[in-house]
């Protein structure tokens, strides 16, 4: 239920995006402060205030990296260059590394 509210909030900011990784599980264990940090980071991505990085594999892909100072959580928000946001990946560090490589980062 709480996760659904946050997902809706994210969709409201970014448009229709996929939620990837152990997204629900991570969100469920996330404290309120980190949730707020996540939302404000997403807003920054949307408002072009976050630094983008280009992918070595997929030329049309750009990504933003989420790294809250606390705990083991990491995230990647992907976007098609000059177009829509694709997916928000959220997981712990190990899975993050795999996803990053998969995306060509």
């Amino acid at each position: 239920m709480v996760n659904d509210i946050i997902k809706q909030e994210i969709i409201k900011i970014l448009g229709d995006v996929d939620f990837e990784g152990h997204f629900d599980k991570i969100l469920l264990n996330m404290n309120e402060n980190t949730k707020n940090i996540l939302i404000s980071w997403i807003e920054s991505c949307k408002n072009k205030k976050e630094p983008p990085a280009q992918s070595k594999k997929h030329k049309e892909l750009i990504a933003f990296f989420f790294k809250p100072n606390m705990n083991n959580i990491r995230g990647i928000l992907t976007k098609k260059k000059n177009s829509f946001f694709i997916a928000l990946f959220l997981d712990n560090h190990k899975y993050y590394d795999r996803e990053r490589k998969k995306l060509g980062y």
Partner: protein
């Protein structure tokens, strides 16, 4: 490699005439060699390995009461820590029989340390955990082929014999990925420790074919981290690594510059100008 502790083909070749046919058949010794060299086994060979070869090895180990203890980079390990480390490893081994365990990290070579890093090779993904100073990390079998693993093994105490891997499938584009993230975290003043360590490990391997151990990585890490010009140093290392490599082409670099320029028009982000400054240097000197 499951329960197999023998991991050195050269050694196996050396002792072959003493163990064939007394312990292993010719066929079995060849299967064993193939397994060590990570060559694909057919169904019959796999059956032979699991039903017969592994059991024989286990029996030999039991008969010889073999203490599965291997020390790598001994000259770098603090004397007291070597004995304490062996105790920690054996204590853990009692509860995780037939599991590959590695004790590594700064605990072995640095008087001041934060955690005692214990790595357990696992077939399945498991959650790492901390118990007091002990930090237990699970590593998947497939990750034993990585440069990271090779680096942690350089100064370590393990319960299995490790066959050093010398070649890794890495190219300059793998380093670029780490570089991009590292620059972003440096600019945002976020935690960049892990990225900087990986950057040091990858760039050294790509420029000089050397796999650094954790102590060497730490030394370089401190040097860069204590510098006021971290980004400048990183740029220099990147340029040097590019110039010592030939696995990139001018067209790709020009494409990257173009993409960064396009992104900069939208995002005005400093990481993109730093990245382009590097790429322009590479084209100039490359």
């Amino acid at each position: 490699m499951g329960k197999l502790q023998i991991q050195d083909v050269d050694y196996l070749n050396k002792i072959e005439k003493d163990i064939v046919p007394i312990i292993f058949t010719n066929k079995q010794i060849n299967i064993l060699k193939k397994r060590i060299m990570n060559k694909k086994l057919n169904v019959n060979e796999r059956i032979n390995l699991y039903r017969s070869i592994n059991k024989k090895i286990k029996a030999i180990e039991l008969l010889s009461n073999q203490k599965n203890e291997f020390v790598y980079g001994k000259e770098e390990i603090i004397y007291d820590r070597l004995n304490q480390g062996k105790k920690i490893l054996n204590k853990f081994f009692r509860n995780h029989k037939s599991t590959k365990i590695i004790l590594s990290g700064s605990y072995l070579w640095n008087k001041k340390y934060n955690d005692i890093d214990l790595f357990i090779i696992s077939k399945y993904k498991k959650k790492d955990f901390k118990k007091n100073k002990l930090h237990v990390n699970y590593i998947l079998e497939e990750d034993m082929d990585t440069i990271f693993f090779s680096s942690i093994m350089k100064i370590s105490i393990t319960n299995f014999n490790y066959l050093k891997k010398k070649k890794f499938k890495l190219d300059i584009y793998d380093l670029i990925s780490i570089y991009q993230e590292l620059i972003i975290y440096l600019l945002k003043k976020e935690d960049y420790k892990e990225e900087l360590r990986n950057f040091i490990l990858y760039s050294t391997y790509l420029s000089s074919n050397v796999i650094l151990n954790s102590k060497q990585i730490n030394l370089l890490f401190e040097k860069i981290d204590n510098s006021k010009n971290k980004i400048e140093i990183i740029q220099k290392i990147m340029t040097k690594t590019f110039l010592l490599n030939d696995d990139w082409n001018i067209k790709d670099i020009k494409d990257m510059i173009k993409t960064n320029d396009e992104l900069y028009k939208k995002y005005k982000s400093k990481n993109l100008t730093i990245y382009n400054k590097l790429l322009t240097q590479v084209i100039k000197y490359g």
